[in-house]
């Protein structure tokens, strides 16, 4: 299995190479420059800046320089935040997003699986219908609606939690909750669907026939099989949630990596854009690999290739 993992990691290198190349070329061919501002920058000064950032040659030279640096672990300098390297920016902001994301996903798993199981047990009853409706709302109402609503209720009206900020435990509750809502809804729907199917299967009937309690049937037998689709869902979901959210982090003033995905593009900050895209791709590849391994562990019919 180690050999397989190693091979999969090696396969990631060309994927990352293509992702970085495409991002870089797209960023450098977009209209507008990192140095365009309200006032026109004098040509000789612009030339100095382009030299400093190695953005002065042809696009293939720039690309060559950049790839060389990336291969040496240097993701370049930010053109927006003077004197900060992309490595520094990621090192400072990624852990923040990971703290928020890991809490949010833990919440999503806890609440999502419980709600899904409850809905499956009460299949067809009002509780099931209510939960299905809630899950649909949770998936379809965007973050930028949920976040202000929760802030108005819990922070402005009830004074229970702070409106924004980062650094104390109470400040993480609302953003983590907002971030987890669509995932709670997704996981609940997956759990419910999968559990409903499994509860029809022969082994469940056998377990019931043996006289096992409904709880034992559900938790000891059915749920552990029903969890498989959630494992599949979790790979890309965890990669996404750990690399931050633009909306949540902007709205709650959290110093995470999420806003850099959008703002670096708007600022035409080419190295930051490439850097964050690289990080996200890396996370996606890693968590998909973890998912595959988990599948392999959980379901003996799956072969790792």
């Amino acid at each position: 299995m180690t050999a397989i993992i190693f091979r999969r990691l090696l396969q990631a290198i060309p994927v990352l190479f293509i992702v970085v190349s495409l991002t870089f070329v797209l960023m450098r061919s977009a209209p507008g420059s990192p140095f365009s501002g309200e006032k026109k920058m004098p040509e000789q000064i612009k030339a100095q800046w382009e030299k400093k950032y190695k953005l002065n040659g042809t696009i293939s030279e720039q690309y060559g320089d950049y790839l060389w640096d990336v291969a040496h672990g240097d993701l370049g300098l930010s053109t927006q935040y003077f004197g900060r390297t992309v490595n520094q920016i990621i090192a400072q902001t990624l852990p923040v997003s990971m703290v928020l994301g890991s809490l949010a996903y833990t919440l999503a798993l806890l609440i999502g699986v419980s709600l899904g199981a409850m809905a499956a047990i009460r299949h067809g009853q009002w509780g099931d219908r209510a939960l299905t409706l809630l899950a649909l709302l949770g998936i379809s109402i965007p973050n930028f609606v949920v976040a202000p609503l929760l802030v108005i209720i819990f922070a402005i009206d009830l004074h229970l939690l702070p409106v924004a900020g980062w650094g104390s435990l109470d400040q993480i509750v609302l953003p983590a909750l907002c971030l987890s809502i669509p995932f709670i809804a997704g996981i609940a729907r997956l759990t419910r669907g999968s559990l409903l199917e499994i509860l029809q299967l022969d082994f469940v009937r056998t377990a019931r026939a043996k006289g096992l309690s409904e709880e034992t049937v559900l938790f000891q037998h059915a749920l552990k099989v029903a969890i498989l689709p959630i494992v599949g869902y979790s790979g890309p979901a965890v990669a996404g949630i750990l690399t931050g959210s633009v909306v949540i982090e902007t709205f709650f003033g959290i110093p995470g990596i999420g806003p850099f995905f959008v703002n670096s593009v708007l600022n035409r900050d080419p190295f930051v854009t490439c850097g964050v895209v690289l990080i996200f791709s890396l996370f996606l590849i890693l968590f998909n690999l973890v998912t595959d391994i988990l599948y392999f562990v959980l379901d003996q019919r799956v072969k790792l290739a």
Partner: protein, 546 residues
């Protein structure tokens, strides 16, 4: 999916789920332990929202207003401003101006010191100004020293001997500056961050990292204590500053979402919102009568640029017709709604000694007459043209849509299309003059009409209209060489008349208001001023009334 039950009694599924949940929690707590908790450090006496994360704190590099506010808390030039925005002595305690207005002799304060206790000398200014002008520094605002004799030549690399530049330090406390022409606003420039002294030893030692809290040495009212990207900046009173600072510790939040800023203010987590753009425009109507809402006229103008090289805007009658048909009052009362004054001139009111021309005042009958004369009676046959604006927030798009509606209503022109572009693309299009009409804005660099009027010289870097008038260019030169302030203002007045009444390559629309939020009983030393420049060294916290 259908799966057969696993045969083993203890399936790994429960184990995986538990491990996942447990792992998530442990990961979260571990990260939180290592990386969280920093905002808990040091409570501040004042917390303010500054608009966004500063791009830099290096006075020679920065160009933005929000960076400028921070840089001017950390650094101080020869002159500075009081709360009202007037120029007052800064590092220089006094100065003399020669009768021809060309030579300034500044006398530095004997007590002038850096935040590490080292004395601050005239040589520091000399070296810092050399750094700004030095092409290797790539200071975008280096042109603010082009007023010095040979400043431009050194700045563009034509000469390499700095001793030829018009700034000398005969001794440690005297700085003599020689200008190419009498620059009436020179003392405004010396209060601006670009001309602040920087600690050259620190700059040389740490390069780009010299502004990091662990390295920086400054000379202004505050010193930088902590700077966490996108999290907060903490500044503390500089013990070596020449006068006492009354608010000891200020925490600066880079929150850039207006609603978040307002939520923070509303829940008393921040005491001051400094940036107009940090106040949600949708809320202005509801909060503008609250005691904490403050708005003041501010030296910036939103205006329309015509591309005078393209039909039909090569015809001044068409440009005038469009200008006269704009009921700007509609725009400020329906769209912007923060009390912006209607602008008929480019230069905002409030420049001492300057009387602006009247400008073109809303007159739809005259507008229709001019349009018919130009060959488009009732808007018939008017070509398809577009109005370019930046899609940054909803403001510019709404203003552009209102203008489109006004022209359709007053002139019958229905062939004007809206063309919204993302900010950097918009800037690019504007600089290439690849538009028919463009909604633009300009914030004055200093409190003098010149900062608005000199934009439109032939091929000026920010002209962006294709417009050129040799008489206008000639008048600018004359004004720059005029030492008599009244005469100079008269020339600038005549120039602006050409710009907004006769040739009309641009149409002023409205002047900006600077908005800020603070409870007057919790913050003092913050007064409305025309330059929207509020030095933090002036702030104080009023004593609680019993």
């Amino acid at each position: 999916m259908s799966a057969s039950p696993t045969s083993r009694r203890r399936s790994p599924a429960t184990f995986v789920l538990t491990a996942w949940l447990g792992g998530g929690l442990i990961l979260f707590l571990a990260f939180f332990y290592f990386f969280g908790g920093w905002s808990l450090s040091a409570p501040a006496d004042l917390t303010l929202c500054n608009g966004d994360e500063p791009q830099s704190l290096d006075p020679a590099i920065i160009t933005g207003q929000l960076e400028g506010r921070l840089a001017l808390a950390l650094f101080e030039g020869l002159t500075t401003r009081n709360a009202k925005g007037d120029i007052i002595p800064g590092m220089a305690e006094s100065w003399e101006k020669s009768p021809d207005g060309l030579t300034y002799t500044f006398h530095l304060r004997p007590e002038a010191k850096w935040s590490n206790g080292e004395p601050l000398t005239a040589y520091d200014f000399l070296n810092s100004w050399e750094r700004v002008l030095n092409p290797a520094t790539a200071s975008e605002y280096s042109y603010q020293l082009y007023y010095l004799v040979n400043g431009e030549a050194y700045g563009t690399g034509k000469i390499t001997d700095f001793s030829q530049v018009g700034v000398k330090a005969p001794d440690a406390r005297t700085l003599v500056v020689t200008l190419t022409h009498p620059t009436a606003y020179f003392l405004e420039l010396t209060s601006f961050q670009t001309l602040s002294p920087v600690p050259m030893e620190t700059v040389k030692k740490y390069g780009d990292n010299w502004t990091k809290p662990e390295h920086i040495v400054s000379n202004g009212p505050y010193v930088l204590k902590e700077w966490r990207l996108k999290d907060y900046i903490l500044v503390e009173a500089n013990p070596y500053y020449w006068r006492p600072v009354r608010v000891h510790r200020i925490k600066v939040l880079p929150t850039n979402n207006p609603m978040t800023c307002f939520n923070l203010f509303y829940s008393h987590k921040t005491d001051l919102i400094l940036d107009t753009r940090s106040i949600p425009s949708t809320l202005v109507q509801d909060i503008k009568n609250e005691p904490y809402f403050h708005a003041n006229p501010f030296g910036a103008t939103t205006f329309l640029r015509f591309n005078v090289k393209r039909k039909p805007f090569d015809d001044p009658r068409v440009r005038k017709a469009l200008a006269l048909a704009l009921n700007k009052n509609d725009i400020v009362t329906k769209i912007t709604r923060a009390g912006e004054p209607v602008a008929n001139t480019l230069v905002p009111p409030g420049n001492a000694g300057y009387t602006p021309p009247q400008g073109l005042i809303y007159n739809p009958d005259e507008a229709r007459r001019l349009l018919a004369e130009a060959g488009y009676p009732g808007g018939k046959g008017f070509p398809d043209v577009s109005l370019l604006f930046a899609t940054r927030g909803s403001g510019p798009g709404d203003v552009a849509a209102e203008m489109q509606a006004l022209w359709s209503r007053e002139l019958g022109i229905t062939s004007i299309h809206l063309r919204g572009q993302e900010w950097k693309v918009y800037l690019n299009t504007q600089q290439l003059i690849d538009f028919d009409m463009c909604l633009s804005a300009w914030i004055g660099d200093y409190n003098d009409p010149q900062t608005f009027i000199d934009m439109f010289v032939t091929d000026g870097g920010n002209n962006d209209t294709g417009w050129s008038n040799p008489q206008y260019d000639q008048m600018l030169q004359t004004s720059e060489n005029t030492a008599d302030p009244a005469q100079r203002m008269q020339i600038l007045h005549d120039m602006e008349k050409i710009l907004v009444e006769d040739d009309v390559p641009i149409v002023p629309i409205y002047f900006w208001v600077g908005m800020s939020l603070y409870q007057p009983d919790k913050l003092g030393g913050f007064e409305p001023n025309f330059v929207d420049d509020h030095r933090w060294g002036e702030f104080y916290i009023p004593e609680k009334k019993p």
